[in-house]
Every structure is written in C-alpha cells, then in structure tokens.
C-alpha cells in the first residue's frame, strides 16, 4: 500500500538546467526583471500563469494587441520589454503552486496542463502582482457585480463589455480607466462613485516631473469620461446591490468622513452591472512560503519588505512590483529592472568567485524614489475608512466561497473569543473555501479587528497559503518525470 514518493527531480536526460534567474510573473515588473537580467548575459526563465506576457496591466486578446491598443497606456514600454525578454525561456500557462529552497538555489514548482513541473534556478525574482481589494456590501455576490479589474479584464482580454448600464465604485485612481474603457466601448456608465474626495492630491504628489506620464494618463481618462457624459461623484459609495437572480440596481449613498452613510442620502441607481474596487491587494503566497519578511504599507496592505536592490530578507529572493507595495505599472517596471540586474549579478557572481558590486544607475534609483512618493501620495488620499463595516447587515456575506456572514465573523470574536484574524477565520470558516481568503481576507481581518485596524500578524494570518494554486492529487503524487503510480 505504501508507495515510494519521488521528490520531483526530473530524471536524468530530461533534467531541466539550473537557470541563473527564475522570474515568476510576466507583468510589468516580471518582464522588466527578465529583460534586465538577460541584458547582463544571465540565463533566465520566465514563469507565468497567463497564456501570454503582459500581466493584468497589459492584458490583451491572444495575438491581438492592436484590437485593444486604445485601452492601453505606454505600449511602447510593453513592446520594448517583451523584445528585451524574448531570449528568456518562457513558461506561460504555468501556475506556481509553491517555491522551495533547493541544493543550488530554488525550485519553482508549477502546474501546467495538469502536470507538475519543477524549474530550478539559482536566484528568484518574484513579481506576482496584485488584484482588486474588496470590502463586502449587501448583495455583492449577485451576478453582475464585478471587481473593477474583472470588468477591465473582460474588456481588455476578451473584448467583452460586462454590461449595458454600468456603475463604477470604490476608491482609487484605477476606477477612472475602468469607467473610461467601458464608456469608450459602448456601455452606458451611470456614474463613477469615489468614496474619498481626492481632489487636490496632485499637490501632494511632490516632485512631479518624473511622473508626468502618470498625470497625462489620468487627464486622458477624465477627458474620456467627460466626452461620454459620465458623472463622477466623490464621497459616495455603492453600499448595496439589488436583484433576484442578477443585478438590477444599486444603492448609492453619500458618506461622512468616516464612511458612514449620511442618513437620507441613499438613492437607487438602476443598472445591470457594477464594477467595484478599493485599491489593490498584493499576491504574497510565494514570498510568504519562502519566509520573506513583510511590513504594512501606507494603504494598509501587507507587502514584502525589500531593500534598495529589491532584496528580501531571504538571501537569493528578490521581489518587484505590487508585492512590495502597490504603486502601478511604471514603478513596477523600475523595480523589476533593478531586481533583474541585481538578481543576475548575484546569480552569476555565485557561478564565478567574488561578487562585484551591482551598479544601479542613479536615474533608475531617482525614478523609483519619485514613483514611490507618488504612490504614497495617491494612497494617502484614497484610504479605506472603517465606516464600511456599518453598511453591512448581520447577514451580509463576508466570505463568498463559504458563505460566511458578517454576523458569523463577529460571533467568532465576541462569543468564541477569537482575538486575531487567523483565529476568527478558523472559527468562522471565512476564508477557508476555494479562494482561501484571497477575496475576503482583508475584510475578515478588519471585521475581526472591530473598531481597530488589523496589524501585520492579522494580515499574515489571512495571507499565508502554502499551496499557492490548486493542484490535483494525481499531479501532486506524480510530478513530471516521476514514474506514474498505478
């Protein structure tokens, strides 16, 4: 009955070479890292779950970037990075389910077409990106309610307009391109509802010159919205969704400074589609699996702590892009470029003896600094205030997968004595389902913290996922190259 498990090392003859650098993630940061590492002469493998490069930011229909070129920004950079990364061994459609230390560096273990494949590398650059942060509201699980990024992905990746009459809500500058894209492609956008009042944030952005591109980008979306007569309303939020089998209307309300609904301000807006987002959540499974140190960023997200060379606390592991602080594509590209250079240098220095100093051009350092300042300024005017919790009924779902209500999460705290997010999760099952808390982790941590804010340990408690992507038992039992069990 007992079988002999293999360690997944490919057998002789089919053994994959040990790369100098494995880059995980093919979005802006990952492409930049691969491109920069290749430029130093390193042997690079690029692993990404998607079927083509670009990540969420430069998402496009397969083989047809042109069809959605008008929805994109800075495609010149994308083309430059794709060209720069073209000499990498590219493993697309490979979803990393774990990474682990190995004899000569690391093994990235990915699932592709139902099989597991191990990719060995001396040094890792992790550029996993992020996804929309969500806070729950009544009815948010109705079909027709999408994340802002979901509506955007349908549009940019598949040329599908999510609905006919759309409302866009939440907080953050990302709402603008989502609304503009939907309007440009023919949806009637009934309004953009920004919970904060970010007017004037430009003044806080500090040094403006290096980020001029970001500013014209924002101005372009604003012009598109004006052209399509899309109303933009600040200090308002979508606080409830209505419908039987799918969305038919939302309640929009004015908010006070803490995001409590101003009584009497609620109004019903008819729509078949809502796109909501509240900033972004970095995807941290792989860095956490390796034990990388974290910190809480300005926007309340758990992020990986990195130094000037994008090095994490784990030797040989570099992180670039949203996973070390939500900051947008230009910052991700700058960080990727630095990480790629530094990682390649470390890997090739490990091959030869002696480690020459990495030279990061000062223009790159300056650019990263300016973009980080810009991102911090952006976060400061787009906070998530705890008043959203007052919108919830006791029966409002917090965890969509396990259908756990706000009342049940609160009971785990008030009645069962949970004093931290992880315990609240395990006692209520919020975050224990298919998505493993990717969607509700932040909200669960907030509800568990009550009027307080979740601390780093709380956020870690709902972010650690040792299995970073689902894998079938047969793929786990029979890695590529191992003799198949009967």
């Amino acid at each position: 009955m007992v079988t002999s498990p293999s360690d997944g090392t490919p057998p002789a003859g089919r053994a994959m070479e040990t790369y100098d650098v494995a880059v995980v993630g093919g979005g802006p940061a990952g492409l930049a890292a691969a491109s920069a590492a290749l430029a130093t002469g390193a042997r690079v493998v690029l692993v990404d779950a998607g079927r083509q490069p670009g990540g969420q930011y430069w998402r496009h229909p397969i083989g047809d970037l042109g069809a959605v070129a008008d929805l994109h920004h800075d495609l010149a950079t994308f083309r430059r990075l794709v060209a720069g990364a073209s000499a990498a061994v590219r493993l697309f459609g490979h979803q990393a389910w774990t990474v682990e230390p190995a004899e000569r560096g690391f093994l990235v273990r990915a699932v592709a077409d139902g099989m597991e494949r191990a990719v060995p590398a001396r040094v890792l650059v992790l550029a996993p990106g992020g996804y929309d942060r969500q806070v729950p509201f009544r009815g948010w699980d109705l079909p027709g309610v999408y994340t802002a990024g979901g509506a955007q992905a349908l549009l940019k990746g598949h040329q599908v307009v999510a609905g006919r009459r759309v409302v866009v809500g939440g907080t953050g500058p990302f709402l603008l391109p989502v609304a503009a894209g939907l309007a440009v492609r023919g949806a009637s956008v009934a309004g953009v509802f920004e919970a904060n009042a970010p007017a004037g944030w430009l003044r806080r952005a500090g040094s403006v010159l290096p980020v001029a591109g970001k500013l014209t980008e924002g101005a372009g979306y604003a012009a598109a919205l004006a052209r399509h007569r899309v109303p933009y309303r600040s200090r308002r939020a979508i606080v409830a969704a209505h419908g039987a089998e799918s969305l038919t209307a939302v309640t929009v309300a004015r908010l006070d400074a803490r995001w409590r609904v101003l009584p009497g301000s609620e109004r019903i807006v008819e729509c078949d589609t809502a796109a909501v987002g509240w900033g972004f959540t970095p995807q941290l499974e792989l860095p956490l699996a390796l034990g990388c140190a974290t910190r809480v960023d300005v926007d309340g997200s758990l992020v990986v702590a990195v130094d000037d060379l994008q090095r994490t606390s784990v030797p040989g592991v570099y992180v670039a892009g949203e996973a070390c602080g939500i900051g947008g594509a230009p910052l991700a590209v700058a960080e990727g470029e630095i990480a790629g250079r530094a990682a390649a240098n470390a890997a090739t220095a490990a091959n030869a003896a002696g480690q020459p100093a990495v030279v990061v051009p000062s223009r790159l350092r300056r650019r990263r600094r300016a973009l980080r300042r810009f991102a911090a300024a952006m976060h400061e005017v787009h906070p998530v205030r705890d008043g959203w919790q007052t919108w919830l009924g006791e029966d409002t779902l917090v965890c969509r997968c396990e259908e756990v209500t706000a009342g049940e999460v609160r009971a785990a705290v008030d009645e069962l004595g949970a004093t931290d997010a992880r315990t609240a999760k395990l006692l209520s099952r919020a975050g224990m389902g298919w998505c493993q808390g990717r969607v509700c982790g932040y909200a669960t941590a907030c509800v568990a913290a009550g009027s307080g804010r979740p601390v780093e340990a709380d956020l870690r408690g709902v972010a650690e996922r040792p299995i970073a992507a689902p894998i079938t038992l047969s793929a786990l039992a029979n890695p590529e190259g191992a003799p198949r069990q009967q």
Partner: protein, 376 residues
C-alpha cells in the same frame, strides 16, 4: 482572590480541564500566550479514536473520553460532533489477519468492532480501492471540529464563571516552600490553589519553569485539504500501517494514509510523522507521499484538487503515553499534556480526571500509568 485553578493553555485539553473544573464548582482562570486553540489543537483533524489503540491504559482513557465527548456534544454542542465511525483497511491477507487479531483484543476491552471482509468493503465505503483485502469497522470512532470544540468549551466555562486570558505568557511559578501557589505572567502574578500544565507540545518548557522535567517533544505532521466535495467518504478511513506508525520510535519520516470527509465538504488527508523540531517549512516530499497514498486508497480522488495544506506539531513523549496527574516533585502542579496525535480525542477524559484530582475526588480512572515522574 486566588483562583482555585490556573490552567496554562487554551487548547482543547486546557479547555476541557477548565470546563470540568468549573462544573465541579472550582474557580478557574485560563492563560495562553497565543489565541484560543492556536497551537496543536488548530492543526488537527479532530479525531476521537478508539480504533488505533491496543488494549491498555491509553485505550481505557480513550474509551472514557469517547463517552464524555458524546455527552459534551449535546451538553455543550456547536462543534460538529460526528459519530462517523472508523474503518481500518489492509491491502493484503496478512494485514487483515493482524487487524482482526487486534480487533479481537480490543473487543475484550469493550470496543465495538466489526470485521469487514473484502467483498463487503464497498458497502461501507463505495469509493474504496476494490483491491483491498479487508478491514475492521469501529463504530465508536468520532470526529469534532477541534478549534470549535476548544472555543465552545471555553465559552461554556466562561459563562459559568471561568476567566480566559489569551495573549498572556506564563514566565514562571509562584512558590511557597515547595508548594506551587500560582504563576507569574507577562501581565502580572496569578495566585492559585492548583496550576495545570495543559501547554501541549510546549508542556516540557512549562514544566522546566517549575523546575521539573517532563519530556514532551514535537512530532511534525502535515494535512492536505481538498476542494469542497459532496460526501464521498463516510468514515475516517485509514490503512493498517497507521497504528504501527503512531507507535514508532523512528525519528525519520513515516506516512500512512488517513482520509476522511468533513461537514464542510473538504476531505482531510494525513498522516505524516517526523521529528524535525519546530521546522514549519512545507515539505513537498511529505505532501507527495500523502497525495499518492490517498489516491491509492480512494482512486476517485485522483482528479480532486488540493487547495490547502497545513502542519502541526504533536506533543509526543518517549513512551507515547500522555502525562496526566499531580507532580510530586512540585506539589500543586498538575500536568495534562503530551497526548501526541490523540489530544482532541483524549481531552475530555483528561479534563475530567484533572478536575477530579484537584477537587479531591476519586478519579474515574487510575492515572498511575500517566504519572509525570515516570520518565528516567
């Protein structure tokens, strides 16, 4: 005013001790440096097993505990008590013979056993590998959701007057002469008539704070959690090797398949045993072995996805028996730790016995086999 009892540890053993002590009319304070059920309790499957124990002191303890858990399931409730039964299977004739032999011995000790020939296995577990040679069914085996069990017992105890301090670390003991008279904690002293060491895997460290030695060591185990499924598996099903693995003294890795469904729909897959200290690193090698063995037992699981894995550290003693009872080397200190992988199952009986001993009653079971000073 000093409490009658301070319990160190808000895991399932501490919770059960607090519950029975409170019921006996004692005033109880529970302290834990972490959250409720944050240690080994939160990393187990919640087994209440009689099937995996040969006749002897531990089986007697398990039989008592099995009865107590059934009572707690109705008296306290809310922790998914499920009398699902256990099915132990063997892949070859000699394995079946050994299983049947063990079952016969267990039956003499009062365990309900049903020998299941190969041809009848499918009737009990339709998705079992049809090539298995036979097995034994144990109707008394049950399962609880362990974290909920601990949290519900503590909640019930609190309602009856107990106090629970989480996030409070015990840093030393209060002594009066040789007598233990309470604990020092990170937030102040807690004087008490009796102190219970229910610190699980960390029980040895607590004991050493009192100047006594109790050899509790961590034995790591991983569990795979599948996607939610309809009910595919009725019982806790495991292979005969599991019993010998539990009793093994080998530090190296042992794995044997243990597969069961849960109320939540996920299937839990164990079991591995390694003595590697408190190393929390995910071991792909162990996960592969668990996956392969589970598919061997239930071929239907081959295409099922794993969505989570976790590890825990069983509190293990060299003779594989728990440590339960007063410590004559430190009067006033009682131990309730070292239950290895059976802590959930044995918690109820352990709590009852400790409460009886502190309260000066005749214990429901002779605790001599579990005495803390037995190690040399």
């Amino acid at each position: 005013m000093p409490a009658d009892v301070v319990v160190i540890g808000a895991g399932v053993v501490g919770a059960a001790t607090a519950w029975y002590a409170t019921r006996a009319g004692l005033s109880v304070t529970v302290v834990d440096r972490g959250p409720v059920a944050g240690g080994t309790t939160g990393a187990g499957e919640g087994n209440i097993l009689v099937s995996d124990k040969p006749p002897g002191a531990e089986l007697d303890l398990a039989m008592l505990s099995s009865r107590l858990w059934r009572e707690l399931g109705t008296e306290v409730g809310g922790f998914e008590y499920d009398a699902k039964g256990g099915l132990v299977v063997a892949s070859a004739a000699d394995g079946v013979a050994a299983l049947s032999g063990l079952a016969a011995e267990q039956a003499k000790a009062g365990v309900d056993t049903v020998v299941v020939p190969a041809g009848d296995l499918a009737e009990h577990e339709p998705h079992l590998n049809p090539e298995l040679a036979g097995g034994v069914l144990y109707p008394q085996d049950a399962q609880v959701q362990p974290m909920l069990a601990a949290a519900r017992l503590l909640r019930s105890a609190r309602r009856s007057g107990a106090t629970v301090h989480t996030g409070v670390e015990v840093t030393g003991f209060l002594r009066s002469g040789g007598q233990v008279t309470g604990v020092r904690t990170s937030t102040g002293d807690l004087p008490a008539g009796a102190v219970v060491n229910a610190a699980g895997t960390w029980g040895g460290e607590i004991a050493s704070l009192a100047g006594v030695e109790v050899p509790v060591l961590p034995r790591r185990g991983f569990i795979l959690v599948t996607e939610p499924l309809p009910r595919l598996i009725r019982h806790k099903v495991y292979a005969a090797e599991y019993v010998s693995d539990v009793a093994s003294d080998d530090a190296a890795l042992q794995t044997s398949p243990v597969v069961e469904g849960t109320r939540a729909g996920t299937v839990l897959i164990g079991a591995s045993r390694e003595r590697v200290g408190y190393d929390r690193t995910l071991s792909v090698r162990v996960l592969r072995a668990l996956a392969a063995q589970a598919v061997e037992l239930f071929p239907v699981l081959a295409g099922v996805q794993v969505i989570r894995a976790y590890r825990g550290f069983r509190p293990y003693c060299p003779d594989h028996l728990p440590v339960i009872g007063p410590d004559p080397r430190a009067p006033g200190l009682f131990h309730a730790c070292g239950h290895e992988g059976a802590g959930i199952g044995l918690a109820a009986a352990t709590g009852l016995l400790i409460a009886e001993l502190i309260d000066g009653q005749q214990p429901s079971l002779d605790v001599a086999p579990f005495r803390p000073e037995r190690f040399r």
